[in-house]
Amino acid sequence: MRLPASRDGLAPADSGGKSITRVIDRYFLAAVSWPSLLIMLLVTAVPFAVTIGLAFTNYNLVATAWKFVGVRNFSTLIHDPQTPTIIFNTVYLVVGTTVLDTLFGLGLAILLDTKVRGIGFIRSLYLLPIMTAPIVVALTWRAMFNNQAGWIDYFLSLAHLPQPVWLGTPSLAMPAVIISDMWTGIPFQALLLLVGLLNVPQELKQAAATDGANRLQVFWHITLPSMRPVLIVAVILRLIESYRKFEGIQILTTGGPGIASTTLNLQIYNTGLQYEQVGYAASMGVVLILMIAISVGLVYLIAGRGSGLGGRS
């Protein structure tokens, strides 16, 4: 994700205007951006720093007295028997959703990459799940997965397939979360990747085709490499989205059965706001931030390896 290029846009007015105008002109850009920056500092940066600080305290919401406890929260976290499961669930969810959403999303993007009349309307229909409130998605899928009145098990019964208790079976709870995620995640990835597909230089594709490359070869050697930057962004956005997934777990499975589908994000909420152990929750928050930073770094490392910008090999 590159930031918009720095560009020293407008030269200062050279006409000797009124000095007050000149002063306003001079500080205009800074003046209009500082209020935003200030709000972001107050509601984002300061709370972030406070959370890091709280991670080293025994602060909780019930008792008012608190003190610094060093790294005790972290050592408690390491020895907590729930920790391995929760870390595993988090990785399971993030890898599962990112890989499936991106692969199917790429497929859908290829399907949507056509100039036939009416395709614009079809694209906008695929936009609808993305725009639906996550809480509605979670509640609706909870109904769909219900083993009494739910539609999924009903359709499975019509096909004479087993009808599992999706949300009550430890091994199926996380797959259910991932399936419901794919309902929005696939269209989201598809629309992002479609922009990448539409930006692939047509001349390159044609040149390869005249050289005798078949469709698959063109896709593999021309299209995919030139989509690399978009793919990286799409994967990173999806990763981040999965790490912070909340409604789709808290409402769909309540993190259960037991803690079979509890991720780190949900556990922080439960620990900090349900059980009111703020310090301990904050230490989990630090771990979550580290996991996100490492994953984003890994994507860059793997995908950015040995490549220039496009596929012009």
Binding site: S6, L10, S33, A143, F246
Partner: protein, 273 residues
């Protein structure tokens, strides 16, 4: 040639399958919202049942329409506040060097990466001391944690598409920087700004996590209201679907009206730049 045509048929067959999969949960909401509660919970599911407005009466009796009003208030307040602060900052970010630009850029990336659960506990603690818990002001500010950076980032992408020469011409004609922004850059970027505004409004309308923690009984929006109303042990699926319908319909209409801009808006900031 024949080969190409059958590929096109395959393409539309697959797209149709995809649309059915997208449509099924929406169909569930629509059908269930007008079912009697006993039919909504029938096992095996009843697809056809007498149409009733009972579920909407249940919503009304449980104060759900008040929470819809709260949703509207918070959505409007958040959208206006976010645009007022975010659009000029996006312009500044696209246009030039100023003190804090680099910091702003790093900050935009950072705030995109950190999950809301990290901010929410300290925010709750501040709000508790400042008596902001359960207020519209408090929630609007908290909504801006994610939406303000998003707005700055996205509008910056749109302002970069406005040729700087136009503003330079206006400046040579003696236009002040404020006027150049207001009269030249903003009108040209307005389609982008409108679609960013729409995305912000939809995101605010859909927010659940922040009001779950920072809302109270009288200010809580419909996303939290719907969960409070469905019951814990036995879920009232009919009322839930009716509530979901009221949350989905406005967004549906907005999405289909602004489809093209929304697709661009969703992807612009992420793909280019």
């Amino acid at each position: 040639m024949k080969h190409a045509r059958s590929l096109e048929i395959l393409r539309f067959a697959l797209l149709a399958v995809g649309l059915v999969l997208i449509g099924v949960p929406f169909l569930w909401i629509l059908l269930t919202a007008f079912k009697r509660p006993v039919d909504a919970a029938a096992s095996p599911p009843k697809f056809i049942s007498p149409v009733t407005l009972m579920n909407f009466t249940t919503l009304h009796d449980n104060g759900f329409f008040q929470s819809l009003t709260n949703s509207a208030i918070i959505t409007i307040a958040t959208t206006v506040a976010t645009l007022v602060f975010g659009v000029p900052a996006g312009y500044a970010f696209a246009r030039g060097r100023f003190a804090g630009r680099r910091f702003l850029g790093a900050f935009l990336l950072f705030s995109r990466m950190v999950p809301p659960v990290i901010f929410i506990i300290p925010l709750f603690l501040y709000y508790y001391h400042l008596h902001l818990v359960g207020t519209y002001t408090g929630m609007t500010l908290a909504y801006m944690t994610g939406l303000l950076p998003f707005t700055v980032w996205m509008t910056a992408a749109y302002f970069q598409d406005v040729p700087v020469e136009l503003e330079e011409a206006a400046r040579v004609d003696g236009c002040s920087r404020v006027r150049a922004f207001w009269r030249v850059a903003l009108p040209l970027a307005s389609p982008g700004v409108v679609s960013v505004g729409l995305l912000v409004a939809i995101a605010a309308w859909s927010e659940y996590f922040i009001p779950l923690i920072l809302g109270n009984e009288s200010t809580t929006p419909a996303t939290v209201g719907i969960v409070n109303l469905i019951g814990v042990d036995t879920i009232n699926w009919g009322a839930m679907a009716a509530g979901a319908l009221t949350l989905v319909v406005p967004v549906f209409i907005a999405t289909l009206l602004a489809q093209r801009n929304l697709i661009r808006g969703l992807t612009a900031g992420a793909v280019k730049g």
